[in-house]
Symmetry: C2
Subunit: 213 residues, 2 copies
Amino acid sequence: MKVELENVKPMDIEKRSFQIITEELGDTPLIPGTELVVKRCIHTSADFDYAGNLCFSPNAVEKAMEAIKHGACIVTDTQMAKSGINKRALARYGGEVYCFMSDEDVAEIAKKNGTTRATASMDKAASLDKKLIFAIGNAPTALVRLYELIEDGKLNPELIIGVPVGFVNVVQSKELIMETEVPYIVARGRKGGSNIAACICNALLYMIDNKRD
Amino acid sequence: MKVELENVKPMDIEKRSFQIITEELGDTPLIPGTELVVKRCIHTSADFDYAGNLCFSPNAVEKAMEAIKHGACIVTDTQMAKSGINKRALARYGGEVYCFMSDEDVAEIAKKNGTTRATASMDKAASLDKKLIFAIGNAPTALVRLYELIEDGKLNPELIIGVPVGFVNVVQSKELIMETEVPYIVARGRKGGSNIAACICNALLYMIDNKRD
């Protein structure tokens, strides 16, 4: 293969990428209002499966944008997702990003209770007196615990981004979240990841900023 | 769907995941010595495409492990990848992780030269007097610049992990790296990401530690 680079200016790379994604999606049906979330997930993964596996509760995107505009904070289950979320954009609306996975008290409680740290960090998040969006890209046990907290009336989040990746209880944990009355964006099946969790948060932020198309 | 959770202890989740991956890979041919890298990429993405798209220069895994054991440092093109790499494991051999993407001097030079910050940050990395492994999960322009630096005799890295994701020059940039004489691990095609870049670094570290199977 002879390598020929496409001549695209740095500032135009993202725009050109979204053009290609839109072209290749063709007539693939997407839920109106969710297109930019779906396309950003494809942009982040080069995986068109996200055009089919992303599930949205009714008006999830609009509700999430409203929550962010009213200062909602984001809780993630990995430092990687926290690192990937545009914290400056979120801060404009008063929100911040939390990840409790490396906290000593979380490690101690998890050890004591024989749970994952993700489970313990969801309990810690539930004690916050704030509007919360959960962005779960790694741990199905985090989603299972969120389900329990919601069913017990101990948590009422603005949105759950349920996109853990993997092979053990990942599929099931996502189905559980879709059984709740809470707004959700879920990547049905095994796929997802911290990168997808962060990119969905950023898609919501950029839609509010109205800077991207 | 009735949701039934599989009863797996927290400490056994990763082991069980690798069992499932191994089962589902079945007879898929993998290059001897690269299996754990491939499986960890699948573990991180739930995407079995990595069984086919990962390309290794001869003995790339062994060479990378030797470099790490001799104190090689890792340069990444995203804070997310830096966040995901097990820095404690790397530090045991004397290495550390660098990401120059947020550095002010990199932003200034990129602006002055009309390049991406990724390009400028590769130049900054090339000035380090250290053994270097590059883990590129986002910017094809980083790979293009590494190719130029290598061809100009200005850089001789221990390994290039070439796994940017996307649609503009991503495929081509990876082919360029595979034309060099430098050891590489490349995800041929559009797929990859910061998560994949970090996970390949961690796979190499865990293989050295010999703690995982």
